[in-house]
Each structure stands twice: as C-alpha cells, then as structure tokens.
C-alpha cells in the first residue's frame, strides 16, 4: 500500500475547465497546504459546484423559518425533512429538481429525478407512500415541447409505476419561457416509525463502510457541474452527464434498506445522488466528525478500466453508502444477498476528519471532509442584486385599457380548454395513482391529494404549487401566494398545513436581476411560512434555468415551487370539491375585489404579458383558511374548492363537472363581469351548503370576520351566469377533459 500522493499536480488551467474560479483554486491550495492533483481537483469541483454547495444561495436560505415544535430534523441536515405526526410516526418529505437532465434527455432525466427523490426518503428509514411532481413546459403547440412532455411523463410513469409508489398529485404549466429549459420537480412523501429513523452520519473508528445497490458506471460524471452551467446549443453533447435509471433496482433497494434498518446494524446511511461516492463519504464523515479510508478498486463497476476519479464522481443511480456496526457485517450482507443486490465493503471509518481514497493500494486523494461540504469549507458567496427593468412594464398596467369582450361565453370556453387550466388527465392517467391502496382522493376529488396513514385515524394531505407568472410580476408577493395557495389547497381538504419543502428554480445567480427575484422570493416565502407556521424543512435550489436566445441569456420565470404537507387528524373529515346535490347554496368566502392582474384570462386571451401580481393579503388569506377548516370540522359544508387559475367561473365548472350538476349564479354590478368571472384575486374559497345546513352556516359565517357572498345555487345541467346560458356542463366538460389529449395527438 502506498501512502504517498505522487500523482502529478493539477494547475489552475485544469481547475478552470472543471468550472472552478481562481479564488476557489487558491483556496483549495490553502486547505491542502499544497497544490491538488487531478482527482482532488475533481472532488472540489463537484463538491463546490452550485448543485452541491449552494454557495450562491445558502446565505439567503438560512433566513427561512425552520423551527417548529413538530420538527424532528433540522432543514438541510438530513436527506429530507422530518415532521412528527403523532402515534409514534413521522413524515419524511422533500422536493427536488431534475431540470437540466430532463431538458436534454427527457425520459431518463425525469425518471432519475423520481428515483433520486425517493432514495432521499427511504434512506431515512421511511417507506414512501406518495409522490407528486411539478412540471413546466414551453408552448404546447411546438413539436419540441410535445417530445419533451411525452418523454418526461413516460419517464416519471415508468419509474414511479414500477417502483410501486403512487403519484397522487402535481401541476403542469405551459409558457414560452420554458421552451428550451423545462422544469421537472419531483416530490416524495414517506412515513417512518420515529424509533427507526436513520441519519446520514458516520462515526466509530473501525466501523465498516459498504456500497450497496447498482454497480458503478461512467454515467452522470460531472452531472452536478453540468446542472450548474448554462444550457446551450451543444448541451446534447453532454449526454454522458445524464444518468440512467433502473426502477427495479430501486424497488429492491427500498425493501432491502428497510429490512436492513430492522437488523440494528446501521450507524448511518446516505443515498448517492449528485457527485456520487465523494458526496456521501464527505457529508456523512463531516457530520459525524470522523474520517474514512476508501478503496475505490473494491467498488463494483459496470465497465472495465474506470479511472479513480470516474468511480469517485459517478452518479450511477440506485446506490447507497452504508456505515455499519463493526462485528455486524454478516447481518448486513445477508439482507442484500436475499434481495440479490451488490453489497461490498469498500472501506472503514477512521479517527480524524480526513478522507483517504486508494486505488489498487495507491493513495490517490487525501482531503479533509469538512472542507468539502455545505456548512463547512465550501465557499459561500453573497451576490449583488438589483430591481429588474421589466417591472416598470408590470407596474404600468392599466386595467381600464382592457376591453370587455363582447362574448364572455367564448372566453369561458377558451379558458376551459386552455392547457394551463384544462384537465391534466392525459398526463396523470399514465401514472399509477393507486398502488399502495392509501390514496384517498381517487374517488373523492379534493384540492389536495390525501393519503391514509395506515393504523391511525390520520391522513396526510399534500400539494405542490407555484404560479410563476405571479412570482415574475412580484417575487415577494408571488412566492407568498405560492405558499398560501398550497396551504389553501390543504385547508380545503380539511387538513392543517404542517411544513414546507421547496424547489427554487431560477436563472443565473450572477445576473443581479435574477438574484433580486431570488432574494425577494425567499423573503415572501418566509413571511407566508411564518404566518402559516409551516417551517421550511429543505428542498433544493436549481439555478441557471435559462436559454441562450440570439446570444442573449433569457431566464425562465422565477419558479419557487412549494411542496406542502398537512395533517388531517381524522380521515373522516376529508372534504371534497364536487357539488353533491341539486339545490345546494353556493357561497364565496373571502374578499372579492375587482382584479384582472396576472390572470390566465389577461395573459392568454388578451395577450397582456405584463401586469402586477393579483390581489393578496396574507392576514385575510390566513383567516379564510382557518374559517374553512372550522366549517369543515363542524360538518356544514357539502364541498370546498379554492379559487385559483381561471377564477370563479373555472372554479364553479370544476365543482360541477364531476357529478355533472350544473349551477346558476349572479355576478356583482359593482365589478366588471370579466374580472368577476375570470379574475384571480387570492384568498378566496368557494363552498356549497345544503338547505339543511344553511341556517347554521349563515350563523357561523356571520360570527366570523371573514367576508362571504352568496353566489347562487347548484342544479340543472347548465352553467348559468346572470340567467345567461354559458353552456351545458357536459359540453364544457368535454372541452376541459380533452384539450390536452387533442393537442398531444396533433
């Protein structure tokens, strides 16, 4: 065994090619007390990439609210957030992006995104019970968008369906700004016995270190660096940086991992995602304040003649690093043998904090773990920011210049069939939404997806939300709206908002206007999360979502996707959104101002691309949600549905279509009719109440501070607005249900 490093020194020229800055190279030399070799430089380049180090975002991420009495793991400290849900159980959940890989190779990019986020959940000991996703594509009429969408949806489906965890909810949004750089954000939610949670930690000198799961190949090398750069015309040449997924291996790994935990032989465990072996070894070691000796030649490989740095950095999927208890090696090996998975000891834990990597008994890298990781030696930058110039256009919007269309029925049909509003069933019918048999919302449609927590009275409500147009118009308000809408969906299901995971998709952080969007979105998120008492448990940041158009860097809309979970204390209280009976009374809860801002109607029908974010008041929003939840608990509501994209009209239609029960409502003379029907002011919930419950509903409403308005009644087969026939529900339903499928078949 050779314990001296004698490989040639790597210069700054090489560092630059790996994406490192001069100051970063100098800092590496300072840490090591010498110049690094190529393996070491590769290690720093991936660990200090934006993707792993959060170097340009961490300063602001630290300002997010993280505390709560029900939090079991601090944000960013474990693979996912962990929330106590009582009965000795906890909920592990997280959302993550896979944008750049999906933009190049949509099928594998999306599939491995699903695989990665699920590993984050079960590596903590939790069994995933539900998945969600948030997808953003460009113009649906373009062939490229259709190709991307077919690939992404098939990728998510093939992976998630075989893995055997239901995909229960999500969002799909189209806008030209995502034509090149699509967004694919995947969320997983799991449940774990609080006594069986596993940490991503390594300690105890002499304890064995195992690599388990798939063999290591050359796929995904420098993927983390790739995710931290621009997408450009030649990006397809980066294909080796995209990983390949194997859901069968993942399913075996899930079952084996959960069995492994029961053996009591585990010290710590972390999945291998971005930056592979180097990321898991350094993060676990740094947290446990220990070192490791790792023999890279012992790692099972898929290809012959892999270089040491390739093994270190490979992002091959379906692998985990397990630190076991010395003397219990056989128990670990037996579990993986049962499941026919690789399980190989590749090293052991040492005193001190140095990571020593050997290849064929020759030392090839010697780095302090702490120097590599976020919160340790990884660089932290504060970027400058300035208010974007486009905001003057946003703020010069004047609604009086918007002509009231002659035929609002045409607008109604246009919106019902608009891809951003129409049914996403072409997408979700390709996902197994029921495997596991805990999905409660298949036959009870609700604003949030709800999954049963077996063996308890409880259920978990989940939602992913972000209207990125609102965020573009006003990042603070827009991001506060994203949190509020997620909470509103959860409240309308009857559950209490509990905690948040976020996926922050932005452009280039070195662009001060982009960074201004980022900073203000974080501030808006903080404000709303404080109000709802929903701490931010983790997630990820994806910068460089942009495309080069005529040599100009054009960022996507700032898209801070919010994934939220809520707790339904009694699953019998689950509230649904469909009208139940003819002759029920329809009420709007919340203030109903005249507002056209940022609506799909304004943006797509009038093609007015710049307007301020819609009406939003955090205090009113909070009060409406509390009130809705109290009404649900008291059992007086027949349905509850939050008013969002498409406004009151689309909201009514969505409640009407399921049972094909029509409605008749009256608008308000004080409010222009297009704004009344299609405006997207926030903080509003539409409810229906039976005759029998009307008196008590009115009594409760009168006693509350929340404004409420009678809209009309359910009944008949039509959509009647001020006694004008806006169409048969069944015909509008046909437009709504088939719009996306028809586009995809064109």
């Amino acid at each position: 065994m050779s314990d001296t490093l004698d490989s040639p020194v790597a210069t700054f020229e090489t560092a630059k090619k790996l994406g490192l800055l001069r100051e970063e190279y100098d800092h590496i030399c300072e840490i090591l007390g010498r110049e690094p070799n190529f393996d070491e430089l590769s290690i720093y380049s991936v660990m200090w990439s934006e993707h792993c180090s959060y170097k340009n975002s961490i300063t602001w991420l630290k300002t997010l609210p993280k505390e709560g009495p029900h939090m079991l793991a601090k944000a960013g400290e474990e693979n996912a957030g962990l929330v106590d849900i009582g009965d000795g159980l906890a909920c592990a959940f997280k959302i993550e992006s896979h944008n750049h890989p999906s933009a190049i190779e949509p099928y594998q990019g999306a599939a491995t995104g699903v695989g990665g986020i699920n590993r984050d959940i079960f590596t903590m000991g939790a069994r995933p019970i539900a998945q969600l996703n948030s997808l953003r594509f460009g113009n649906i009429d373009s062939e490229r968008t259709k190709w991307l969408m077919k690939g992404v949806v098939r990728g998510i489906g093939d992976y998630g369906n075989a893995f055997g965890v239901p995909t229960v909810g999500g969002e799909v949004f189209f806008d030209d700004c995502y034509n090149v750089n699509i967004l694919v954000n995947a969320m997983s939610v799991g449940v774990v016995d609080t006594a069986k949670t596993v940490k991503a930690i390594s300690y105890g000198a002499g304890n064995p270190v195992f690599i388990v799961g798939s063999a290591t190949g050359k796929d995904g090398i420098h993927g983390a660096t790739f995710a931290s750069g621009d997408l450009h015309d030649d990006s397809h040449e980066d294909l080796p940086a995209v990983q390949v997924g194997d859901p069968f291996q993942e399913k075996l790994l899930l079952e084996a991992t959960l069995e492994l935990i029961d053996t009591g032989a585990v010290v710590g465990m972390q999945d291998m995602g971005a930056a592979g072996i180097i990321c898991s070894t350094s993060e676990m070691s740094a947290k446990g304040e220990h070192g490791m000796v790792i023999h890279l030649d012992k790692v099972p490989t898929r290809q012959q003649n892999m270089e040491s740095w390739e093994i270190l950095l490979s992002e091959s999927q379906e692998r985990m690093l397990v630190v076991g208890k010395k003397g219990m090696e056989q128990a670990i090996l037996d579990v993986f043998d049962k499941w026919d998975l690789n399980c190989t000891q590749i090293g052991e834990v040492t005193e001190g904090e140095r990571l020593l990597f050997y290849m064929n008994d020759k030392l090839i890298a010697d780095v302090p773990a702490e120097s590599l990781v976020l919160g340790g030696g990884a660089p932290v930058y504060t970027r400058e920011y300035k208010e974007p110039a486009y905001l003057t256009k946003v703020n010069s919007f004047d609604k009086t210049q918007v002509k009231l269309p002659d035929d609002l029925k045409e607008v109604a049909r246009f919106l019902a069939g608009h891809p951003n509003i129409a049914s996403k069933k072409w997408v979700y019918n390709q996902y197994d939404s029921m495997v596991g048999t805990v999905t409660m919302t298949t036959n009870r449609v609700s604003d949030a997806a709800v999954a049963d927590v077996r063996g308890t009275d409880k259920a978990i409500a989940m939602s992913v939300d972000c209207n990125a147009r609102y965020v573009y118009s006003d990042p603070f308000k827009g991001c506060a709206i994203a949190v509020s809408e997620a909470a509103r969906n959860i409240s309308c299901s009857g559950a209490v908002p509990s905690a948040v995971t976020n996926c922050l998709n932005f452009g280039n952080p070195y662009n001060p206007e982009v960074y201004w969007q980022f900073v203000n979105a974080i501030k808006g998120m903080s404000a709303a999360c404080e109000k709802f008492k929903t701490p931010v448990t983790g997630g990820n940041v994806s910068f460089y979502n942009q495309s080069m158009i005529n040599k100009e860097e054009v960022p996507v809309f700032p898209t801070p996707t919010i994934g939220m979970i809520g707790l339904l204390e009694s699953k019998n209280n689950l509230m649904t959104l469909d009208f139940k009976n003819e002759g029920d009374h329809i009420f709007l809860l919340g203030k109903n101002p005249e507002d056209l801002n940022c609506s799909e109607y304004l943006y797509s029908f009038h093609k007015i691309k710049h307007s301020p974010a819609p009406y939003f008041n955090l205090e009113e929003e909070f009060a409406v949600q509390e009130f809705v939840r109290s009404l649900i608990r008291s059992g007086v509501l027949a349905s509850a549905h939050d008013v969002s994209e498409g406004g009151i009209f689309i909201n009514l239609l969505e409640s009407a279509m399921i049972s094909e029960i029509g409605f008749g409502i009256e608008t308000d003379d004080e409010i222009r009719k297009d704004a009344f029907l299609f405006g997207e002011a926030q903080g509003r919930v539409m409810v229906s109440v039976s005759d029998a419950n009307l008196a008590i509903f009115l009594e409760l409403s009168a006693a509350s501070d929340v404004e409420f308005t009678k809209l009309g009644e359910t009944g008949g087969k039509k959509a009647l607005i001020d006694n004008e026939d806006f169409g048969d529900i069944i015909n509008l339903k046909s437009i709504y249900e088939n719009a996306i499928g028809n586009k995809m078949a064109e």
Partner: protein
C-alpha cells in the same frame, strides 16, 4: 381459508393484497418469497401485481422461472386455486396456466384509471356471488393489458364459459368505447378449463376498502369466500 401471496422481486401490489385479504376480509395470509419451494399449506395462491424482475423483457416472462412457480404449477395441476392479478395474470399466461397473451395497450401508454367490468359467467369462484350485468367500477394500472389469443382459443374460451369479466360502460353494456386497452372481445379476466386458475387485469384489491372510497371489488373476494366457506 389460508391465502398465500407470492412475492417476486419487483412485486408491488403484494402488500395491498395482504391488507385486503388480512385486514378487510379477515383471512389468514402467508407471504411466499419467490426463492422458496414451500406453499406453507395455503389453500389459495395469489400472484400479485407489479413489475416482477423489472419486466424489462416481456411482462411476466422471467417470473415464471422462479423456484416458487414450480410449486404453484404443481398446486394448480392438482386443482389448487390460483389467482393472478395484473402482472400475476401476465405471469400465468407466460407459465401457460392460462391461454392467450397480454400485449401492449393499443394506445401504447401505461393507463391507470377507473374502468367498469361486468361478469360474463356465474360459473366461477370469483363471479358466483356477483349479480348478472352488474357494472363494477374497478381500476386498471398497466402498460400491457391488451388481451390477445388466436381465434381457436377465443372460441374455446367462449365455448367453455371461461371468460370471467369484460370491460363495459357504467350501465354494464359491453361497448368498444369502454374497452380501455384493445383487448379482444373486451376480455378483462379469464379462467382455465378446469376453473381453478384465474387471471384478471383490473385490481379488485384497489376497490375493497373504505379508504379508496370505492368498494365495488369487494364482492369478488366475498364471492371467493362464500363458496369455499359453504
């Protein structure tokens, strides 16, 4: 009645089946690992849904070579009851315990949604308790569920009353529009000539509990138990 649920690597409806048989129907359930050779004295074997061995070749093509399948074949040969659901049905056709094959859905996509099926015969363990023409809302979730067999086999299936279920609309009418995957004659489930081996693509275990908000599938399990208990 003791049920045995086979667990192949990649099975993912095994625990769902265990839940319905054990917790909802209150029966004894043994999980049978694919590497074993022991059916543990079970009276009724279920091959659950999922993606056995990843189904990277043809669905079910590899699972039939599992050690436990030797025992299942012997068990079926001696008249033991075997039910395959979804991937289980695919495995039973690959193992030639049931005729025909499950091809790719005719739209070439995985489909997960509620569909309606109606019993085609009263003369089977699964359907004896179901009223004729009843439309049962039961979900499907598969990429390869398009039932195909040659004309002779189809004639034989019909002649021997071996078709258990057909896809239908909510009124129980067997129509082209209600066929979700292109299956010949809307066939959703069949049995063998000896009427002890059953296969169906829809998932009754996903429609048998209060949690799902749809208990249409429960009648199939009740039907199995009524006859055997009688």
């Amino acid at each position: 009645m003791k049920f045995g649920v086979v667990v192949f690597p990649g099975s993912n409806c095994d625990r769902d089946m265990e839940h319905v048989l054990g917790n909802v129907m209150d029966q004894k359930v043994e999980m049978l690992w694919h590497k074993e050779h022991d059916l543990k004295g079970c009276d009724f074997i279920v091959l659950p849904g999922g993606f056995s061995y990843g189904d990277y070749l043809r669905s079910g093509a590899i699972a039939r070579f599992s050690p436990i399948m030797q025992e299942v074949l012997d068990f079926a040969d001696k008249g033991g009851f075997v039910l395959g659901i979804c991937n289980g049905f695919q495995i039973l056709t690959e193992a030639h315990l049931l005729p025909g094959a499950l091809l790719h859905n005719n739209n070439r996509q995985f489909i997960c949604k509620n569909v309606y099926i109606t019993p085609s015969t009263k003369n089977s363990l699964l359907t004896s308790g179901i009223s004729e023409n009843k439309a049962m809302k039961i979900p499907i979730a598969h990429g390869e569920g398009n039932y195909f067999a040659n004309d002779d086999v189809i004639r034989e299936l019909n002649g021997n009353d071996q078709v258990l279920f057909r896809y239908c609309n909510s009124n129980g009418e067997i129509t082209a529009d209600s066929n979700p995957n292109g299956s010949l004659e809307n066939i959703a489930g069949i049995c063998n000539k000896q009427r002890n081996v059953f296969g169906m693509m829809p998932h009754p275990e996903r429609a048998a509990d209060f949690i799902q908000g749809n208990e249409d599938g429960k009648v199939i399990f009740e039907s199995i138990l009524n006859i055997v208990n009688a």
